[in-house]
Symmetry: C2
Subunit: 372 residues, 2 copies
């Protein structure tokens, strides 16, 4: 298929942007290219939360040659003071003649304002090209801005007979090491991982991520934000838990009025309401996480924790790992209980991706039921 | 990859053999090619149960030119009188100089005997080429011969939260029409479909198959053998059931001593033992089906029927359809209950195939746990 020069360079921007995956949230992933004719004279991407924007990186690379050039970027340049000064200022100052971008930034501080600012300074602006691809790339950012909550993914691993634990409640391990390794790399894309106290007591997991191959540079990955979140109504968390003894920020949500124990400095206790005995109000958890800038949340709980998100339809994506094994037994732990969807509703999720491992499958589903 | 002339022609044989899929069981699928040098002068396949063997079809096509030629066939030619006369006789009579085949026929009436018969008449024999592919193709036949029972496949459709029915026991429909259509074409590959009386009462299914595209010719497909089997301990089968009112052979297994009702001529009632109240001894069912020449059995039951096969590890394959939908709810129908496999056993099934539909997935698994 023939593609225009604009499409060509915007695809480069999208590819550059992806290099920031897992490192920039709740900021969007952004890549920028500066070209004169068919030549790329500068490029860059947003490398990490708090670091310079893609446009600034690309302008720095192009230097004085940026004068009269075209700047490509997948998201509308910012025009406000955030962690860094406005990109519109830098673009105008560098003498860029034309800006081409894919998607308007829904952030109310931006939201189309940059177009007017740039045009008023004689910079011509074109946008809306590769908008679908750009929206897809920053799906999580748009959720964060538009719904004022993190993008939420539920993850579980079940047997081919539909169980996430055996009769004794054991779930170590339903999938193979290969699939679990893949899951640890998935965690890197998230700002926070959440689980329930039962999982902590039973499995004593570290909840750590693995670095994917694209994120090799230590000066960048050391900046990664990663919260471990535990739902623990009655503060049953054992002091010996492995998860307590890592340097990662740990937040434990309990019911209000629970006295804190002797926990290390990296642990924060937050009291919230219960909706019933032993079941915390997940909406307050979500709201708190939004407040501290968690843009992407991965939920890896048992039936109870997963269901508490399903109860309020608070999820955007599902990672269902399916181990090619049978558990059998009658005391059943399904991934989700709670709300019942009638069979004749026609409410299917959207299959986004299927990943095949030697003895497992990963089904990635998008929530298209319309959520909160 | 370079392939020899023998491999080339045997691959043709395998492709021809596949055309008999669904029509020849419990016979094996067999294709034959007769060549002189690089030229194919005759070919054929076993088109249907009771019809001529592939070798005879190929010889008929080659006619007198078969003299001095080489015959390729994926399975050892037969040397006994079954439904048709021995192929070894026809091969010798036609003056074939050389026979090349893939796999020795484990049928005790054959089992290598043809090699000696052909060689004693001056026909040279080579075998063992593409044996793996040939064994895979006739996996069901080898099970039938070696284990003296039908090849058994369990099929279910579950939601992404692992349920084959909702709280009310309803399962119409968990998957989309596209997946169900695929399943009806799968049924064509089987000689019998088995389900439980609860499914009949609740869903009133026809249990019919659909013709796949390769099986268009009516004179062939009209010969297809297809039994519908119902497990119905207490003979609760309603006379109004749609499945009673088709022309297909219907076998109803009940517990011993149940009096027969007023059923049509195409219905056979067979009394067997129960292993507990309401649970028929599946081993007796299997044994009876073997006796009447059912080579491939597809089990499409609810939890109880599927579990009764799992209880004795009586299955060779699983078709797990997964609809991209959530059912929710706490009263759970998992695909299998019964026997418990410990998580640390490392007993994974083998993923044979993954088929993706718009809103569903099909996971085809092979039982490599070692079964009965």
């Amino acid at each position: 298929m023939k593609q225009s020069r604009d499409e060509f360079f915007l695809k480069k921007c999208l590819a550059l942007a992806r290099k920031g995956c897992g490192l920039v949230s709740p900021n969007p992933m952004v890549g920028a290219v500066i070209s004169k004719g068919n030549r790329m004279i500068g490029w860059g991407w947003h490398r990490g939360y708090g670091l310079p924007h893609a446009e600034v990186e690309a302008l720095a690379m192009a230097g004085p040659k940026a004068k009269g050039a075209t700047l490509y970027v997948n998201l509308e340049p910012c025009c406000h003071y955030g962690k860094t000064p406005p990109c519109t200022d830098a673009i105008i100052k560098a003498g860029i003649r034309k800006v081409v971008f894919s998607t308007i930034d829904p952030n109310p501080f931006v939201n189309g304002k940059s177009i007017r600012i740039l045009e008023s300074q004689g910079v011509s602006v074109r946008y809306g090209i590769l908008e679908k691809e750009s929206n897809e790339l920053n799906e999580t950012y748009f959720t964060y801005i538009n719904k004022k909550r993190p993008f939420i993914s539920l993850k579980w691993a079940m047997s081919v007979d539909g169980k996430i634990a055996n009769e004794k409640g054991e779930s170590k391990w339903i999938t193979s090491d290969e699939a679990r390794q893949y899951n640890r790399r998935l965690r890197f894309e998230y700002d926070a991982i959440l689980t329930g106290i039962n999982t902590i007591i039973r499995d004593d997991p570290l909840l750590d991520f693995c670095l994917p191959a694209y994120a090799a540079k230590k000066e960048i990955t050391s900046r990664k934000r990663y919260y471990k979140i535990i739902l623990d109504s009655n503060l049953r968390m054992p002091l010996s838990s492995r998860v307590l003894n890592t340097s990662a920020k740990l937040i434990i949500f309990t019911k209000k009025g629970i006295r804190s124990g002797m926990y290390p400095d990296n642990v924060e206790l937050i009291g919230i309401d219960e909706i019933e005995e032993g079941l915390l109000d997940i909406r307050q958890v979500i709201s708190h996480l939004y407040g501290i800038g968690v843009g992407k949340l991965l939920v890896e709980g048992g039936t109870k924790v997963l269901t508490s998100f399903w109860r309020f339809n608070l999820f955007d994506r599902i990672y269902a790992f399916i181990g090619a094994r049978i558990l059998g037994g009658t005391a059943v732990y399904p991934p989700l209980e709670g709300n019942i969807i009638p069979l004749d509703s026609g409410e299917f999720l959207c299959i986004k991706e299927v990943v095949r491992f030697s003895t497992d499958l990963l089904l990635v589903l998008k929530n298209v039921l319309g959520n909160n």
